[in-house]
Subunit: 330 residues, 4 copies
């Protein structure tokens, strides 16, 4: 459902065009300094710049509703609220009976008997990732590790110098681009992750695949490992502190962190909403019709996804860390 | 930890060289015909043939300890036990202080303060997948869908005619090979999966990454989606029953099954245990030493992983299905 | 932690003197009519009348932040917020180092290393029950059963005609009174509750004991059953619809609802905050000192607890019902 | 369902007349000495003596299937199995269509569509408490606290000298007796229990009410608290170590342990199976018929319940303790 985590647990709520989106974070240790200002940088990163990102600009001001006293966490749940301000729900009226290809419109209507909020994808919108980013800020504070994600490929191109031109071309074509995001977590220590089902890969991928638009997740050598021999992929320990030779395992053995950097890559699909004409079913008439999607959309959601991926990894690690040792000042 | 699932919930236990491995399955609907014979085919598939698989041959006879009466499930937990018979624990004595590259030996000792059972990887062994396969048999019975996994690539080669030669060569080199397994689930219906965190990709990948040796998971177009434009990857609905044009989304939109086949691919690393000389840390001396691993091992665990992948997908779908509608004869 | 339930799941947050208290409710079926007005009656019952209740009067206006569209639930989480308005935190300043007897002051400071919000009990305050009552309103809508709780004893007296006088006397003594609340749920059907650990008594008592100030919970004949013989306590089925002769089992056998009214009684302690002089530890000086608690408090929290008990029972039943059959309009 | 606990988690399985009952315990810290002999004393206590207990005598020999190596726990799940040996299933044949008053026969058949194992109550049998007792042994080892339960009342009589005569009389009447068990846990420390829903009373009562035949649970002053004034029930702290004056709160404030002994009392119903004639529905004919239950039954299950109550309390405390601080030897 809409919550994740055993001992560091988040519960998400909200809709793209409803009153608000938000998150309740349970299991936050007491005594962590936390104010609205701590969220500014990551929220700004998620908004993206002008290049290839939507023109919908929400202020994204977090309201800290609970769990904080005198500027520090209290150990009680931290609830964070983001009011929606700049909805343009009228953009979605023409789409009532033509489910957008690649979106959850059709399945959502089926699953919830037509009662779902369809405006801007409702609860299925990428808008909810603002709450995930906020939870990630808290998780990163807890972890104290260096967790950083960056776009490493757009439209199959790994040279950033060419991205501007590719985005401009896609925009002029009314089309969109996919991309790949890589996240590294350094300094997380040895022993995070639980056998059997809460392997670190399991919990990290669980969270990553909850982000709208993710098509693949790989660790270390990833899919390349499948093309290697054991003698090439094996990653011998070469130091008493656990340092390995190649980190082809992405910092994880047997589902448990081995002290080397955790490395995970995520395939982000191209934005589904495009101006260029597609076809889709008209659920009233039963016929397939052409469709051109207006409104405000990203050209390449990978550009804004990096900080969301970072948040997801941080949340999974914070939960694994809490599972490992719940500290308390007795 | 060692359990997975909300309403169809499995709990795994056991070690490679302990008395037994097993699984307790909770949430099995009452009234399903189930006997030992139902497990034979999948357990045989997991054993593999002679090609590229270990010479350790366990009988793998399931004992159904509970939850069954008159040949049908009762609604109470189904406990299934597999006694270990053919352990050769002496193979592992030389490895006590030289953690095998690619294995959990080193992290397990760190995490559990040296108390872990190291024989054959203990609780981290691929031996535990026999219990996963057993749970998959029950899950497939519940689902009634067609869920099939097959090896589609070994060592980077997708032509099965060349695999025999590659395996022979790897064996003679004392080395091992990775591979890719694809699983398709047809007939699972519309609406499985829950927003936000229990997206179908999240729960399926969670289970898949718990299988030892998995390095990547992708759905539909997978990592290729990241190299496509929206107009190429989008997957328009072309029929009132929800059929889409390309199934590039792998049967899932917004985390919810859309009625098309669910398609997932899994990267399996090459077997870590190889005869060919590697190096590793000697934890007693602190120096790095050469290591050649004897004993009985697979050349290519991907060959035996297909039925395990199938089981993992079936279990995730059975849980999603139970989450969707818990049926009961009132 | 601060969430409860498997398939109907609530997450609570907030503090007595913080910005707000609230609840996120996950697993609410789509299509239920729900507006702010639906909460008015139960919220008013929780406020209590003038007799024996605190003079702190919060408006208790619920903000429905998510999960509702066109006046109906959408299937997405319903978040409900109550802003705090009338805090008088200065009442608590004198208590900083004298933990109030019967309150969580001392354990909260120990557990959270002094970081807890101490104002009005912070997260441990009875103020949070406003969110529980709100969740109960939604649960009762889902259940459609008749769930009613009432005070049946105050200060050991079961004749309501005498309560006014007892309360007046306690008030003049600067003291407080305990009481007993009984809740009945009729029409919940057969089959709610799960073996072994999610017996209906288990989940109902779990929620009831989370309400501040509860000291005991009993079902049907309750503690009297321990004084009876089997021939007296046994409760034979006397009709094909499952109606029993005495309902001494309180509508539950083997943890499963048997179709008869569910009957549960709850012991509510006397309000801990009293004007009458008590003693407590001064945590600065280490000595025991006299203490008289001013501020605004209830004389008898049992009077306001009935609707909270009702909510707790309704929430447990709604979860059990969701566990039994998750309905969906496909 | 059939599992309980967050970080110390138990999963139960088995039936009274099936092959076995057992438990899988996850979250057991590594390095605890544990052998079959550790279980002998508590298992013997559960069997009861000759007085008032069933003549069915199972050997109750625990098989430790996993999670133990060299006589110590490994950190992996501990699976414990008890084979059933002395079933007399033929005793139950006459009861196929006459659900026994006070038992789960009728609701189980309804809930599971007639597929449930009816022999001896199947999965609803008190036989499963042998697995609970085994888990309690492990929990007590973890806690290191002094957790002791004893019968303090039988048939309303608190003087043990009179119990023998009462039991003899009940036996000669073909009837049964209820009783009250009190459990005290000393030395558990300060800070166990979590706000809001995982209050210590919540989790302890959750487990206690899962034991077959429990009708009521109360802490400290319990139901008597409802008859007291605040000045009588309040329990002032009188020492810097948290010692209170009366322990009327039963060692718990705000759901959190306060360092004083935890005191909980449990009402156990009289055994439902009695030789004395009762009436019940014949589900075939639809008429109400006389019923006399033969077979082997306890006169007073409270006599054997003490060690089960002790186990339940220990398990809840071990989970709360694990939630508080997961220790690991890094």
């Amino acid at each position: 459902m809409n919550s994740f985590g055993h001992n560091f647990r988040i519960s998400l709520f909200g809709e793209s065009h409803g009153a608000a989106v938000g998150v309740v974070i349970d299991g936050v240790p007491a005594g962590i300094a936390l104010t609205e200002a701590d969220f500014a940088e990551d929220l700004a990163r998620r908004k993206g710049g002008t290049l290839g990102t939507t023109s919908r600009t929400e202020p994204d001001e977090p309201e800290l509703l609970s769990g904080i006293f005198n500027g520090h966490t209290t150990g009680a749940p931290v609830a964070i609220l983001f009011r929606n301000r700049h909805q343009q729900s009228e953009d979605y009226a023409p789409l009532a009976h033509t489910p957008r290809p690649g979106h959850a419109d059709w399945v959502a209507a089926k699953k919830f008997g037509g009662w779902n909020d369809p405006r801007g994808g409702g609860h299925f919108s990428g808008r909810l990732t603002v709450a995930l980013v906020a939870a990630g800020v808290v998780a990163k504070k807890i972890m104290g590790a260096k967790i950083t994600a960056r776009v490493c490929e757009i439209g199959g191109e790994s040279n950033p110098a060419k991205w501007q031109e590719m985005l401009t071309q896609a925009a002029s074509d009314g089309d969109s681009l996919g991309g790949i995001v890589e996240c590294r977590a350094e300094g997380v220590g040895v022993g995070l992750g639980e056998p059997f089902f809460d392997s670190l890969e399991s919990t990290i991928s669980h969270l990553l695949f909850s982000i709208p638009g993710i098509r693949g997740v790989e660790f270390g050598d990833g899919f390349e490992a499948a093309r290697k021999r054991g003698s090439e992929h094996n990653d011998p320990i070469i130091s008493p502190d656990g340092t390995t030779a190649t980190n082809g395992a992405g910092g994880i053995n047997g589902g448990i962190s081995n002290g080397n950097p955790i490395v995970v890559r995520v395939a982000v699909k191209p934005t589904s909403s495009i101006r260029r004409e597609q076809h889709t079913l008209n659920t009233l008439s039963g016929s397939v019709e052409p469709l051109s999607i207006g409104g405000r959309h990203d050209l390449c959601i990978a550009l804004r996804a990096a900080v969301v991926v970072e948040a997801a990894v941080a949340i999974a690690l914070a939960d694994a860390s809490a599972n490992l040792k719940l500290k308390i000042e007795n």
